[in-house]
Structure formats: structure tokens, C-alpha cells
């Protein structure tokens, strides 16, 4: 199947993403979900604001999915990232990898989120009780 890539201001839909990668040959599904925490580096976070360079992010996500597909023979992958304002407890990113055996799903999912964080042009601003800051690294 074609990988699913979503960049959206709307809340992410975990069940729809899992359903989209499900297939009778799938034996293991690993989902990673990044969630807005109420604290970071000792600050009380009020909410987050995500900015995205959308055209490039989409291409870059397609590139890292393609790398993961070749490395782990993946067939069923979905990557969704939300942008705009997100409240505490809301999901900013959901990655779903479904494979015949679980080892590949764990490894590929971890690779995808780590590589997404370091190479995809999406930025996070923390708005805390004592000021705001674009978070790096």
C-alpha cells in the first residue's frame, strides 16, 4: 500500500490510522503517539504551538518512510502530525507501523519518530506560565 502521510490542524484519529494500515497479513502493530506534556525543563507548559513547512515536511516524511520500508521490508505505515495550537494531553504526532512480525514494527516505528524529529521541518513553541520559547533539539 501507499504510505499514509497526514499534516493537519485537526485532532489526530488513532483508530482511523490503525485501521488504514491493517491487513490480513499483519501480525504486529506498533503505535507511537507524542502527547503534549504539562511540564518541560522545569516549566509549567500551558499549551504548544506547532509550525510546519508543509510542502517540505510532506516530502521529507515520504523520504524517511521510503528508507524504513526498504530497511525493514515494511508495507503498512502511517505518519500523522498535527500543527497549530495543541492543548495538554493532545497528540501532536502518531506513527503506526504494521508488520507480519513484531520486531520490525518496533524498530521501524522508533526509527521513524527519531528521524522525523531530527529531519522534518516541524517546530514546537512551548507557551509556559513564565514565557514562551521555540524548542530546539
Amino acid at each position: 500500500m501507499e504510505p499514509i502521510i497526514q499534516l493537519t490542524r485537526e485532532p489526530l484519529d488513532r483508530d482511523a490510522l490503525v485501521a488504514a494500515v491493517s491487513h490480513p497479513s499483519v501480525g504486529g502493530i506498533v503505535v507511537f503517539e507524542g502527547v503534549v506534556r504539562d511540564n518541560a525543563r522545569g516549566k509549567n507548559v500551558r499549551y504548544l504551538e506547532y509550525d510546519v513547512y508543509e510542502e517540505m515536511a510532506r516530502q521529507q516524511i515520504a523520504t524517511i518512510i521510503e528508507e524504513a520500508r526498504q530497511r525493514w521490508s515494511l508495507e503498512h505505515v502511517a505518519v500523522a502530525h498535527r500543527f497549530g495550537r495543541l492543548e495538554i494531553g493532545e497528540a501532536s504526532v502518531i506513527i503506526v507501523v504494521a508488520t507480519p512480525h513484531r520486531a520490525e514494527a518496533f524498530e521501524a516505528c522508533r526509527y521513524l519518530i527519531d528521524t522525523l524529529k531530527s529531519t522534518v521541518p516541524i517546530w514546537k513553541k512551548e507557551v509556559a506560565t513564565n514565557g514562551e520559547e521555540w524548542v530546539e533539539g
Binding site: 518541560a40 509550525d51 524529529k117 529531519t119 530546539e136 533539539g137
Partner: protein
Amino acid sequence: MKIKIRYFASFRELIGQGEELLTVADATRVVDIRALLVERNPRLQPIMERSVNALNHRYVPAETVLHENDELVFIPPTGGGQ
């Protein structure tokens, strides 16, 4: 020739706009634009130093030469959160 620069995240906030069109000489390189912007707005220097370059949606080195209608973006560090 004309190029487009788009600003995101801290760049957009420091510069106060999301994009601009710039008229530059032929054979201008990305690194020249970096210098120009910092000269024009010295507050950009710290974030420019930590940023890499994307030209037409791909990462490129600073020595890359620009062409008519190129879209240039400076990419500050991504990866908020562990």
C-alpha cells in the same frame, strides 16, 4: 532575478512576516542571503547560526547557487521533545 524566502518558527516571529520576494544578482549563493539577512537584522544572527538551508524543499549546503524563482527556507533546529 527573483527568489522567494519563506520564514517559519523563530524566523517568522523575528522578521514579522511569513515570506518575502527578493531581487538578487545572478550567481548569488545561499550563504550570501544568510549574510544579507543578518546584516539587515542583526537579531537573526544566533538563530541563523543554528539553522540549515532548504532550497525548493530539499536540504542544501550554504554554497549552493540560487536560480530564478527558487524557494529558500532557513531551517532552525527541529526535534522538540524526546
